[in-house]
């Protein structure tokens, strides 16, 4: 690093390559995809380049490089999670988009009961209780120990599956 700070380009190439070899396993342990590792590694190398004047060659290089690597990794993860959060569907919004009364149905339960039984057990139980036994979503929720909104969501998903199967 001392040589590269003095402007020795060959030493600088060697340093950056050694840093790449040093940081790749560190990043691979913490990130899922190799493309992601490459992206963050590039960010780190650029940051090391930008901040190289803050290294004087008098103290160990590795803690300095790892400090920058951790900083950029955290930055990347923060952005990634923020992005996922932005694109996540709000549960309240989902609830609003559901029908007010999910127990109303244009077709009889008996006519589709065979398809209902093919659904996952929880969804089938919910539909059976709502449409065969006539319980409301709230009552079903109390009966099977779920939240009312979760019952509505499960019912909504079951309707979707049933609709696809019946339209086939």
């Amino acid at each position: 690093m001392r040589q590269s700070l003095a402007g020795d380009q060959r030493a600088y190439v060697e340093l950056l390559q050694a840093t790449t070899r040093l940081l790749r396993p560190f990043l691979s342990k913490r990130l899922s995809f190799s493309s992601e590792v490459d992206d963050v590694l590039q960010e780190i190398l650029i940051s090391i380049h930008k901040a190289r004047h803050t290294y004087d060659g008098q103290r160990p290089y590795k803690p300095w490089a790892f400090a920058i690597a951790s900083f950029r990794l955290q930055d990347h993860l923060r952005m990634l999670y923020a992005d996922q959060l932005r694109h996540a569907t709000d549960f309240d919004e989902l609830e609003e988009s559901l029908h007010e009364d999910v127990t109303e149905s244009a077709i009889s339960y008996e006519s589709i009961s065979k398809e209902v039984e093919k659904l996952p057990e929880k969804q089938a139980t919910i539909l059976r209780l709502m449409h065969q036994d006539g319980f409301t979503a709230k009552e079903v929720a109390e009966k099977i120990g779920m939240k009312e909104s979760a019952v509505k969501v499960a019912a909504h998903r079951a309707y979707k599956v049933l609709k696809e199967r019946l339209e086939r």
């Binding site: 790449t20 590039q42 380049h49 930008k50 901040a51 004047h53 803050t54 160990p60 400090a67 951790s70």
Partner: protein, 211 residues
């Protein structure tokens, strides 16, 4: 991998000789020197409080000034260390303001206890906070400008500590200038706003020191 190799080659082409940043101790010394000059000039214009020498013989007033000065020195040093990605590998020293804050708090608690019977409250109130904040602006600007030249990986904390360092210059000036002995007033209008400044510094750090 090809992208990385290309990037390394490009960065190496751009790499010319660079002057390493000064040691953080030297950097903080520069800030402290500038702040001392600023404080001296400000006091020369505004004037020292009457009978300052006698007041300095009061143990708690002297202790307050000494701990405030310590806080200023320690926060300046810490801000300089926080300017470096690895805190110049002096992590403990970078977090030293916590200890000096605790000491300052302790001194203020004792000073409050010793203020018996309580000194009369001055007629003014928020004007002190306003004056200190105005006095703080210049040191804050130069500290933040200086910090921007480096590469802080703890930019929130660096912003907070730099703001507190600048605010302690203002607080020192006010304490050496204002003829007031009421600890209640000093705590409420001089030092409590420090907390707000610290929080503001966290945000300013994000805005100005992120790289």
């Amino acid at each position: 991998m090809t992208n990385i190799n290309d990037l390394v080659a490009n960065l190496a082409q751009e790499a010319s000789a660079v002057k390493p940043a000064p040691h953080p101790f030297l950097l903080s010394l520069q800030w402290m020197g500038a702040a001392a000059i600023y404080l001296a000039v400000s006091l020369a214009f505004s004037g020292l409080r009457p009978q300052i020498v006698e007041h300095l013989q009061n143990v708690w007033f002297a202790a307050e000034i000494a701990t405030l000065l310590t806080l200023f020195i320690v926060t300046s040093l810490s801000a300089a260390l926080l300017a470096f990605p690895d805190l110049h590998q002096k992590r403990r020293l970078a977090f030293a303001p916590i200890a000096s804050f605790a000491l300052f708090l302790l001194v203020m608690i004792f000073a409050w206890g010793a203020d018996s019977p309580p000194a009369p409250l001055p007629v003014h109130s928020f004007e002190c906070t306003l004056s200190i904040t105005l006095m703080t602006l210049l040191p804050a600007v130069w500290t933040f400008y200086s910090l921007r030249q480096y590469a802080s990986t703890h930019y929130h904390l660096a912003g907070c500590v730099a703001s507190l360092s600048a605010f302690s210059v203002g607080a020192l000036w006010m304490r050496l200038h204002e003829a007031n002995d009421s600890i209640a007033h000093v705590v409420e209008w001089h030092y409590l706003p420090m907390l707000g400044i610290g929080l503001l510094g966290l945000w300013l750090g994000k805005v100005f020191l992120k790289w």
